[in-house]
């Protein structure tokens, strides 16, 4: 008999702390599958960011260093400069990456730092209890935008993939979703592609994954998936925004 489905080797077989219906677990699995696909577990170094993603070391069975809020790309830069032959990655949320860590992500991408960032965009600060994030949609009610996000007061939801795709240092920039099987398969392909880019020394690779947060959205997991499709994808279009074919240094 042929084994067609198994637990990824680089992911520990341990219960997760993620809320029911949260997409973070799916995203972690896709990352682990990419690591396994290229047999990177023993050459991989993770950087744990701050937020729901911080417990990375409890799930991924790889070396991990914890970064301060927003600084994962800077910490990853330090690691990668010491270990250019290792695969360095981080999973960052939207508060971490698009607010407090905006400078770090932009300059890391612009340096063409040969690392992979998986960006989990769920339009809210998940771990701190559902406050307004830079990606919070207009009109969205959060604990700190109780009247709904208003562009005159709070500005607009920020599109990170589009912004990073404009930078010369970016090798691969994509936005994907995991709300339904077809999207999930595309997401798997993109995440794998991001790791391949790093493996081949192409430069900075970045995959934004639209994610649900049923707890903070106060929705059932099913309704949360519907919201990803109906509200998020129209504002944050899916697709590959940058795909380098030959490394700049070649």
């Amino acid at each position: 008999m042929k084994l067609v489905f198994d637990h990824p080797k680089s992911l520990k077989d341990t219960p997760s702390h993620f809320c029911p219906g949260c997409h973070h677990g799916l995203i972690q699995r896709l990352v682990a599958e990419a690591i396994d696909h290229y047999e990177l577990q023993d050459t991989c170094i993770g950087v744990a960011s701050v937020g729901c993603s911080v417990f990375m070391y409890n799930y991924f069975d790889v070396d991990v260093v914890e970064a301060p809020h927003g600084r994962a790309p800077a910490v990853a830069t330090g690691v990668k400069r010491v270990h250019p032959d290792k695969i360095v990655f981080s999973i960052q949320g939207d508060g971490d990456l698009a607010a407090i860590g905006t400078a770090e992500i932009i300059h890391t991408a612009n340096r063409g730092e040969n690392i992979t960032i998986i960006f989990v965009n769920n339009t809210t600060y998940g771990m701190t209890g559902g406050q307004m994030a830079p990606t919070t949609l207009l009109g969205q009610v959060t604990t700190t935008s109780p009247y709904g996000r208003d562009f005159q007061q709070d500005g607009y939801p920020i599109r990170m993939a589009e912004m990073l795709a404009t930078l010369e240092g970016s090798a691969y920039v994509a936005r994907v979703a995991v709300d339904k099987p077809a999207n999930l398969m595309k997401a798997k392909k993109s995440i794998r592609e991001a790791f391949r880019m790093q493996k081949e020394g192409m430069g900075f690779s970045f995959v934004e994954v639209l994610s649900s947060c049923p707890t903070d959205w106060k929705m059932s997991p099913g309704d949360a998936c519907k919201r990803v499709e109906e509200e998020m994808i129209p504002y944050f279009p899916l697709g590959v925004y940058k795909e380098r074919e030959i490394a700049d240094h070649l």
């Binding site: 260093v65 800077a74 270990h83 290792k86």
Partner: protein, 370 residues
């Protein structure tokens, strides 16, 4: 080996390179720019990494990443930039990542000025960032010491798995003195089996972190750090003394202030005053014992600092009961470095056999009795 005339900031860079530091991450700020400038030229030649970061914050976090990866890494800055680095320094202390931070300090608060100051003493020795931790702080007073102590800082960082700060100032960084490029004696260093290397050969994962959420876990971690600081206090206290055995009065000063005090101390001896000097070289751990033991026979101390009175508090805590601790401070800006004569006058006024100064003469000094 020949002595060469070298600028203080360049001596820092040379000390780091000679100690095997091949990774520098920094951001420009006066008066320490010769450090990154020198390293940007020299590190690529030896296969090292010089990276000019987008901010002080990014730079210290790159040091965190590199230090966690098992190499000797450093950053340098000056006062306002060091404030920005405090977040990363706290994380390094919390997750026990070695690294060296050089502060060629300048006048503050705020943007302050670019002249020498010792106003960062509290920030350096009392923690600086959030939480219960300490950074080992070394305070050179010459170009030779900038070189030697920067090199030594890497040993301490590796031995104790802790960030180490070299606290200089604008005068030390910008002046030139003869330098003998000779390393201090080597120390025994522990293996870095905790470092991030990828799970070589499938060894169990290495995790470097400062988050501890389970009951009692964080407290246990902090007590472990405290035990380490106790070891640091036993093993790394550094100071210099001059003629303290028969002293009626001992000057206490570090860094640039100590250089000026050395002249004043000689001038006082020439006048027949029995004046000695203690120069703390390690500011954390603070040389408490020499202050306590001398205070059994010496009853007067004069603390001189280029600030409004910071180390003064640690001297007061260290000396025994009955010792009188006076202070002369010049919170520096341009043109406010004290001259040896100015300190000599202060020595005379607190020494005893000279008349007490009037309020006018006292100027910006104040006296304190313990």
């Amino acid at each position: 080996m020949k002595r060469k005339l070298v600028k203080g900031n360049e001596a820092v860079a040379m000390g780091a390179m000679d100690a095997g530091c091949k990774y520098y991450f920094g951001y420009p700020i006066t008066p320490q720019n010769e450090i990154p400038e020198y390293l940007s030229q020299e590190l690529p030649k030896i296969g090292g990494v010089f990276l000019q970061a987008e901010s002080e914050i990014a730079a210290i976090n790159m040091v965190l990443g590199a230090g966690a990866s098992g190499v000797r890494a450093m950053t340098s800055s000056s006062s306002p930039g060091i404030s920005l680095k405090q977040e990363g320094i706290s994380y390094m202390a919390g997750s026990e990542v070695p690294g060296v931070i050089v502060n060629i300090s300048r006048s503050s608060p705020g943007l302050g000025g670019i002249s020498a100051s010792q106003g960062d003493y509290w920030q350096a020795v009392k923690g600086g960032g959030h939480g219960d931790y300490h950074v080992i702080v070394l305070a050179p007073d010459s170009v030779q010491e900038l070189y030697a102590l920067t090199a030594r800082a890497f040993d301490y960082a590796d031995i104790y798995r802790n960030p180490v700060m070299v606290l200089g100032d604008a005068v030390l960084g910008q002046m030139k003195e003869p330098l003998l490029r000779e390393l201090p004696p080597p120390m025994e260093l522990p293996p870095k089996d905790w470092a991030l290397t990828g799970r070589k050969g499938g060894r169990p994962q290495n995790v470097i972190k400062s988050l501890y959420l389970d009951d009692g876990e964080l407290e246990k971690h902090i007590w472990k750090l405290v035990e380490k600081y106790e070891r640091v206090k036993k093993e790394t206290v550094l100071y210099e003394t001059k003629e303290i055995e028969d002293a009626d009065l001992i000057l206490v000063a570090f860094g640039t202030a100590a250089r000026i005090c050395k002249t004043s101390q000689k001038m006082a001896r020439d006048l027949g005053l029995r004046v000695g000097l203690i120069r703390p070289i390690s500011l954390y751990p603070f040389p408490e014992e020499v202050l306590r033991s001398t205070s059994e026979t010496t009853k007067k101390y004069l603390v001189v600092e280029l600030n409004a009175g910071q180390m003064l508090e640690d001297v007061r805590l260290a000396v025994g009961p009955g010792a009188e601790v006076s202070f002369h401070g010049r919170p520096c800006g341009a043109g406010s470095l004290p001259k040896p004569n100015e300190i000599l006058e202060k020595i005379k006024s607190v020494y005893g056999s000279f008349p007490k100064p009037t309020d006018m003469e006292r100027g910006n000094s104040h006296e304190t009795r313990v």
